[in-house]
Symmetry: C2
Subunit: 214 residues, 2 copies
């Protein structure tokens, strides 16, 4: 398809597409003559992902570029490729290692992961920004005086593992390797709000079921 | 306990506590003489919740006051009290009713709720900001060209119902009615980041399990 059709089908203006092309967020089309290039479905897909990252996820252009470079890196295994893309997404604040609540949170998270047998997560702990954000979130609860230990977290973690299994099953319905990783990144950015809303809606429903609506 | 001890145990400065007292976010202590008031565990608990809402949840003081007025309203049934407190929390943007993606999302959400038999959620739909934020989140996915329908969401919703059951079980371990609702509000604000981090960590773990770490 031509640039104008790519713009129409994606809802992204031609000026913005040209900007993404210049910034290397989108691969160049196949040049058919000096003034015209052809684009295909992979461009449309990538354009949707770029918009998801920048407009919905609020990811800066430079970060989006880094995330997408990992998505397209065929030299990496799938776990690493996926991990590299997700780790490049903006993460929360770093834990303050001087804070005793952070040390306590780190112990609870380690006990949790050991109990669950999540060996990879334990192994990756010193490197993983995801592990760090869990420590920060648990430390906040501890600092505010809420008891939030490994035992309490374990059933939630088990449920989240079932959610993650669904995520990967859905990812695997896609054919190309690049599409698989793209889907996982889009899900990480776009699916969180759906999951949060479903969680709150389930709280309403369950609460009405237990206590009635009076 | 005296103001100074309340400050020490909560980690909130006496100046900030006095501000919260003036703003009505915290009930006055029991006056023992003209210059001294006594505070108890309920003040400490409430102070933690106020900090959670304002500092972690980024809730404006006026909103926090509204949320807390519902928490303390003993004239309401538990579902309503909980709902009123949670609904007063800041919600995302309103759906744009002119947008065809919003109409499509509303249909998918309705099909989902009907399929699940979540009758209360369907009944409350026109009122509930939680329902609205689910519609907005699904509309974003549809607008970006991702297929995201009721069938795909149903297993996620079932898992979130199990999470909500855990939430309410945990809430019920508390004794007083006020404490129960306080816990639910704190969980809604503080627990989301923990759940999000557990979800991403589970994705890492499950991905490594399926595809290895090469």
């Amino acid at each position: 398809m031509r640039l104008s059709e790519l713009s129409e089908r994606s809802g992204v203006s031609t000026a913005t597409i040209k900007y993404y092309l210049r910034e290397g967020l989108l691969a160049p089309g196949r040049q058919v003559n000096t003034t015209t290039a052809e684009y295909d479905e992979s461009h449309l897909r990538r354009l949707r992902l770029v918009r998801a990252l920048i407009q919905v996820g609020g990811v800066p252009v430079a970060t989006a570029k880094e995330v997408l470079s990992h998505v397209g890196d065929e030299s990496l295994g799938r776990t690493i490729r996926l991990g590299a893309a997700l780790w490049a997404l903006p993460q929360g604040p770093e834990p303050d290692e001087e804070d005793p609540a952070v040390a306590a949170a780190r112990r609870e998270v380690d006990t949790l992961l050991r109990g669950l047998g999540w060996e990879t997560a334990r192994e990756l702990a010193p490197l993983s920004p995801v592990h760090r954000s869990l420590v920060v979130a648990v430390a906040t609860l501890i600092r505010l005086g809420y008891r939030w230990d490994a035992e309490l977290m374990a059933p939630y973690a088990e449920l989240m593992r079932q959610v993650a299994q669904r995520d990967l099953d859905f990812m695997e319905t896609h054919t190309s390797e690049e599409e698989k990783v793209e889907t996982a990144v889009a899900a990480a950015v776009l699916f969180e709000p759906v999951l949060r809303a479903l969680h709150r809606l389930a709280q309403e429903e369950e609460s009405a079921r237990r206590y009635g609506l009076e």
